[in-house]
């Protein structure tokens, strides 16, 4: 790997891999040839789930902290949107201007995430899963029982994005571009920051927290800060989610959905920020079209089996599968050319993450 690229801090145009260009063109042009349904419910929804799963990927892939509460954080932002902004339920709905509502909701979610982090990082590894799962369930129960603030079982409806610049942002095409902007923004941020000082530090802590202490890093603080950043990503995901659904209720933050987010991240792959989005696309396609292929009753069986197979046989998810496939192709090609330096020429600018352990 070329270290100039790693540490230069700027990427020149010719460094961009053709696949990235193709993907970018496809994503931008997508609404021009897809139906509203595919733009909104497949496209935008995949991007939203991908964004929420990205926050988990960042914590788990870089920080080694598998949090099942990322959906809860997103749901918290979604609830704040309904509580501070407007809804149609005659409960709360303080009617703050939309921009203030968004800012406060995202920050609130980030603080909530930080709190979860503070509670769970004091213990390590497996504890994180258990504690975040318990937090997710506690939040679910709490919003279901609390009517004064969260309107209990019914939740909120009628939460809508503003009409801005003459555009109603919940129309499929504008909403798709909105989701795409948020998703690409965070994708790029996570991708870039993975090689920043903070990002390297986080990965180093994942590899060896004790050594990081011995280098002068405050490991606990570093981890909690990761929860803060993940909370911002998940918070934006939650804002988009509530605009997408137009509503939020305890069902939005249920345990099964929280586990879906984990499934998405794991199936997609946790070693590169593109993984969660791949996982989300696969999940959303399956969720929508499984009923045409198999009996819908057994949907969870399909999802569970896919998840189990990935965990058992391809720990790096779809991404790992693809890398392995590509390596094999390249190996064959190089073997024919007699080139031994198979692994030296890695893919474009993906940093050290894409290499296997």
């Amino acid at each position: 790997m070329d270290s100039r690229r790693l540490f230069s801090g700027s990427i020149s145009f010719k460094d961009i891999h053709p696949a990235v260009l193709i993907a970018a063109v496809f994503l931008l042009a997508y609404p021009s040839f897809a139906t509203d349904f595919f733009i909104f419910q497949i496209g935008a929804y995949s991007l939203i789930l991908g964004t929420i799963a990205l926050s988990l990927m960042m914590l788990a892939g870089y920080g080694g902290m598998v949090s099942l509460a990322q959906l809860t954080v997103a749901g918290f932002a979604a609830y704040l949107m309904a509580i501070l902004g407007e809804n149609s339920m005659d409960v709360m709905g303080l009617g703050w201007p939309w921009w203030l509502t968004v800012i406060v909701s995202v920050l609130g979610a980030a603080l909530f995430s930080t709190f979860i982090g503070a509670v769970s990082v004091r213990t390590e590894g497996i504890y994180t899963i258990m504690i975040t799962l318990a937090v997710a369930v506690a939040f679910f129960y709490f919003v279901r029982q609390n009517y004064v603030l969260f309107n209990g079982f019914t939740g909120f409806a009628g939460v809508e994005p503003p009409t801005l610049f003459g555009i109603y942002w919940r129309d499929p095409v504008p909403f798709y571009y909105l989701s795409l902007t948020v998703a690409i923004g965070f994708f790029a941020a996570v991708y870039y920051c993975a090689q920043s000082t903070y990002g390297l530090g986080l990965q180093a802590i994942r590899d060896n927290p004790r050594r990081m202490r011995a280098l002068g890093f405050n490991v606990t603080l570093h981890r909690i800060v990761a929860y803060f950043f993940a909370g911002i990503i998940a918070g934006f995901g939650g804002v988009l989610l509530v605009w997408f659904n137009g509503r939020v209720s305890p069902g939005t933050v249920g345990v099964d959905v929280a586990i879906d987010i984990l499934v998405i991240a794991v199936v997609g792959g946790m070693r590169h920020p593109i993984g969660p989005f791949l996982g989300a696309i696969a999940f959303v396609l399956l969720e929508n079209f499984a009923i045409d292929l198999i009996d819908r009753e057994r949907f969870n069986m399909v999802i569970g089996t896919a998840f189990l197979l990935v965990v058992l046989f391809s720990p790096d998810g779809l991404l790992g599968l693809w890398n392995r496939f590509r390596d094999r192709l390249r190996f064959r090609g190089n073997a024919l050319l007699g080139d031994e330096r198979v692994n030296k020429d890695g893919p474009a600018s993906t940093g050290s993450l894409e290499k296997t352990e």
Partner: protein, 263 residues
């Protein structure tokens, strides 16, 4: 030498890099460190010898704060750090290496070293990628040259040979501006050539950098140290110049007698 008169001097001067006062560490009923008193002057090079289980590594863990002490006080450069977490102690100029290499396998050699340099400076939470002319990055580059690892700096740690990993351990300990380094058996498992290299590196350290080295290899230990502390069963057993220790009858009997196999 340790004792009440040492205590009276502790508060004042700050000429000591490290002062341990009645430090103990218990694991349940097991006493790993018992009432250890020790002082190391700034810039002093000290060897700690003792058989396996004598409490040497526990002593290091107590100094760095990897594990808390049961009783006693630890002072670094005149400051009481007993209640400080280990990263705070590191930021005061303390470094250490580990007996078993504890490196970041997912990162490259350069990234490892860069983090070590950045650990004691500002910008640990920076979200920018480090530039080539970043202070810590330049420091890391020169460090890698110093330990002869610059040709593998873009490799991942997992790909390095054992000897290279040990060298990297030392590079990490030398990064930043260390004032006192704890070396935990740096020569273990190295080839004779690599040992020579190690001794060279240690001897070429600037004089203001002191260190404590745990070493089984007597040759290495005596070559690179000015004073030697002998430990046995969690206690300090002897303390003196290399010559004194080498010629001490009790030491000969207790340590060299059956510990000689190491060297």
């Amino acid at each position: 030498m340790p004792g009440t008169d040492a205590l009276s001097r502790l508060q004042s001067t700050g000429q000591y890099a490290l002062e341990l006062e009645a430090v103990s560490r218990h694991f349940g009923a097991l006493v790993a460190l018992a009432d250890v008193n020790m002082t190391v002057k700034a810039g002093e090079r000290r060897a700690v010898l003792g058989s396996n289980g004598a409490g040497k590594t526990t002593l290091f863990n107590a100094i760095t704060g990897d594990f808390p002490t049961t009783t006693g006080r630890v002072r670094l450069f005149g400051e009481d750090v007993t209640d400080l977490p280990s990263h705070e102690r590191i930021r005061r100029g303390l470094r250490r290496t580990y007996q078993i290499s504890l490196l970041f396998n997912g990162l490259t050699v350069l990234e490892n070293t860069f983090l070590a340099c950045r650990g004691v400076t500002r910008g640990r939470f920076s979200l920018r990628r480090p530039k080539r002319d970043d202070g810590s990055m330049e420091l890391a580059q020169s460090l890698l040259e110093a330990v002869h690892l610059d040709d593998v700096k873009d490799k991942q740690v997992a790909e390095l040979s054992y000897g290279q990993q040990r060298q990297l351990e030392i590079a990490l300990a030398l990064s930043g501006a260390p004032r006192l380094i704890l070396f935990d058996e740096p020569a273990a498992g190295l080839s004779p050539t690599e040992r020579t290299l190690l001794v060279e590196i240690l001897q070429s350290l600037p004089s203001h950098i002191g260190y404590i080295i745990i070493e089984h290899d007597m040759d290495v230990a005596l070559k690179v140290s000015q004073r030697v502390t002998m430990m046995h069963n969690g206690r300090i057993f002897k303390d003196g110049t290399p010559e004194e220790i080498e010629n001490d009858g009790e030491v000969q009997e207790l340590y060299l007698g059956h510990g000689g196999g190491h060297g």
